[in-house]
Amino acid sequence: MAQWLSILIGMILVNNYVLAQFLGICPFLGVSKKLDSAIGMGVAVTFVMVLATAATWPIMQILNKFEIAYLQTIVFILVIAALVQFVEMVLKKFIPALHKSLGVYLPLITTNCAVLGVCINNIDAGYGYGLALINSLGAGVGFLLAMIIFSGMRQKLEGNTAVPAPFQGVPITMTTAAILSLAFMGFGGLV
């Protein structure tokens, strides 16, 4: 139990996927302009991360059994792509309300490096099935947390004219992310 908790807190705060490990930067910067879309993206990523780990971990055992572990990259990305398509279809058919709020982000998640990254990291770290799922959940929640905080910060930045001209737009956004990342470094050594 203590191990589960330490992995969970470690992934959310200390080794935050976005701010400490640079995974999933594209959606972090691209979809964080509005709070509701940031939450939608974060929840969708968390959901897909856990689901993708649930699917890829057993597949890796099969690959290991036949000694074709080098096919990991190809197999994982295909499984994730198929899974995301499948989830989208299921949501569309059975839970249209959820599809309306999360569905728009699902195609983008196929090529999200955080999802593939968490699947590969779980295998590299040698986690068992339970720990791998917890690890993915932590990574997803950490991503969601970073998205929510960052979208709040970006709303304050909106229309700020004190920023020097070359820094307006993307560079100041990135600098803000640097400060947020600096703040998250304060959690170092927590676990």
Partner: protein, 253 residues
């Protein structure tokens, strides 16, 4: 003659005018994560370039065969195949690089530059043009990664060209230049995560300044560079998509 000028433009536009990660703002994850030293960034750039050239060639060859509806998965399979190949090569010939890039080597699969070039250029241009486009874009990517890496290494570690990934330990030692004063008081934070964001921000600001002096508007994060814009259902993407089709025609012409 006119043809040749065009080819040259295809080759060089990726290096400065349409630099993939400073102007188009693609591939931000590897840019931030692998630039803790100059050679690390360069290694990542070369690996991605190799994949980009190969995948561009193969996709432009297969463009007519691949059905339009399943093109994205097909591209991903082609790219993933080449990434696996590159993983093998790097592991065999440059193990230090393999270890320091870690998870970001397999993650070249989801690098938006590669999928983006497949979707926006390779599938509607000839083999030679696509290869040249791959070379140009790859060079631009490698160049900016190396520059950002060099800045972070100098300020954050006080050295330059440390950790060369080929050859023996002696060669690595010989290549490493330690900079006086800074190496005694390195600002470690620049080599860590926040510094990555900050140096990248400064690099983009410099590019923005240059763009502004030429009377061009700097880009914001949007759907123009996104490889999946045509599949995306966000209202923002759909409204921006018209701009993309115009831009695509500009590339073709």
């Amino acid at each position: 003659m006119k043809e040749k000028v065009n080819r040259l433009a295809v080759l060089t536009k990726g290096i400065i005018k349409e630099n993939p990660n400073l102007v188009l703002l693609l591939g931000t994850c590897p840019t931030l994560a692998t630039t803790s030293s100059a050679f690390n960034g360069m290694g990542m750039g070369i690996a991605a370039t190799a994949v980009l050239i190969c995948s561009n060639i193969v996709i432009s060859l297969l463009a007519k065969i691949i059905p339009d509806k399943v093109r994205i998965p097909c591209y991903i399979v082609v790219i993933a195949g080449f990434v696996t190949l590159v993983q093998f090569i790097v592991q065999a010939f440059a193990e230090p690089l393999y270890n320091s890039l870690g998870v970001f080597l397999p993650l070249i699969v989801v690098n938006c530059i590669i999928l983006g070039r497949a979707e926006m250029f390779a599938n509607k241009n000839g083999v030679l043009d696509s290869a040249l486009d791959g070379v140009g874009m790859g060079l631009g990517f490698t160049l900016s990664l190396t520059c950002i890496g060099a800045v972070r290494e100098i300020i954050g570690n006080g050295t330059i060209f440390s950790g060369f990934f080929l050859g023996s330990e002696e060669l690595v030692q010989k290549l490493t230049v330690s900079i006086p004063f800074i190496s005694e008081h390195p600002m470690l934070i620049i080599a860590l995560a926040p510094g990555g964001f900050f140096v990248y921000a400064c690099a983009i600001a410099v590019v923005n300044k240059i763009l502004a002096s030429k009377g061009k508007k700097p880009r914001d994060f949007g759907c123009q560079g996104c490889a999946l814009a045509s599949m995306c259902q966000q209202e923002k993407c759909i409204s921006e998509l018209d701009g993309v089709t115009i831009e695509k025609k500009g590339v073709e012409a």
